[in-house]
Amino acid sequence: MTFFTHFGRYILMLKWMFSKPENPKLYWKEFMHQCSEIGIGSIGIVSIISVFMGAVSAVQTAYQIVNPLVSKLIIAQIIRDTVILEFAPTLICIVLAGVVGSKIASELGNMRVSEQIDALEIMGINTRTYLILPKICAAIATIPMLVILSMVLGILGGRITVGLSGIISTETYDMGLRELFVPYNVFFAMMKAYTFAFIISSIPAYFGYHLKGGSLEIGRSSTRSVVVSCIVILIADYVLAALLL
């Protein structure tokens, strides 16, 4: 199948996803369940990656800035800006494309192979609305929060590292953080987070929902969905940077 067939079916899936829920209570329950699966389930990995990300960028920035004429404050600013602009939104979302994306694709793929989707359809339920919409909404609701968490932990990780290794004092670090701070960067990062959240959830949902064949295909389609999501995230990252910066 060509790219255009896939793209067309993806758009149709998104269009048909919007229909009146048969029973809003059950849909809300499913949404909450997905928030906990996607959001709370990823806090651990996001935290670990963020702290180390901040720590590594602290060490590497200090290594590169050896010129005594440059103010030491700049180390904190560089860490702050790289974490906010790139590391927290993009890197974390690429990791989440693996964690969350493969989960969504394999869950839906398994339901497709074992005819659970057909069983729902036969009951008179719009399976796109019931299975896909709550996942996308949950991703959009929780992933930006994870990105904020990642920003905070990343900057904190940098602070701990500079303090422990004596690159600069933590007071200097805090002072640097507050200098030349551009709030627009946070806005930009959040735009990225929302866009990526949509990509991470909708593309794997497409691959899982439209899976054809046996259980062997489940693994294959979840790998494919992660690869495609990552590529689309990087393209979107570039487009957003070109548009918004």
Partner: protein, 255 residues
Amino acid sequence: MIEFKNITKRFGDKLVLNDVSHAMQTGKTNLIIGTSGSGKTVLQKCLVGLFEPDQGEIIYDGVSFTEMEDEQRKLLRQQIGMLFQGSALFDSMTVEDNVKFPLDMFTKDSESKKLKRVNEVLERVNLVASNKKYPSEISGGMKKRVGIARAIVLNPKYLFCDEPNSGLDPQTSMVIDKLIYDITKEFNTTTIINTHDMNSVMEIGDNILYMKNGKKEWTGNKKDIIFSENKNLNDFIFASEFLQGAKKLRMMEGK
């Protein structure tokens, strides 16, 4: 009654259903029989709309299913119960929640009323004390029974069963056949059963459609089978010498 006319379905070049027409009657167990790969599952899935036939018309009690909009189909489907060949239970839910799911989705009953109904149908399919188990923790026969319980929990007008007793021991098979038969008579449902089990055919075959290579080969009921001259049908139903003998005996009794 579900009527269908000239149903044709292809997958690529492969003609899977070739101009099949028949009527499934209300209050009867309508059997679709035939060897594996003869197109039984595809026919059943065409009837409920999981596959779109390439040609032909499907009519539910006088209303054309083929021409229905998605919304109307959704409403009709709330009156359809279906048991899938592999049971298709939701594996993230317990047995109880599986059966309760249609009630949760489509009724506004209180929790206790729903649970009462769930236990009622689970008792009906002879499945007690497994409420809190997950599908991965129960046997194939139990899964089928949960699948039936889930299919009948909303008292459907139309009941579809795809090989309800494949992979079960003869005794459990009989129990399940009897169960489906009783439900059909009690609630006057239009029941459609795919099977290649000759016991089922001879026990509950009110109205039988015999398929061969995607074509209608023969129709009739369980009595007609004994006297049928159709060679393919005879070879299919009375496959062993033992059964050939049984058929001869029955014919002598009948005449």
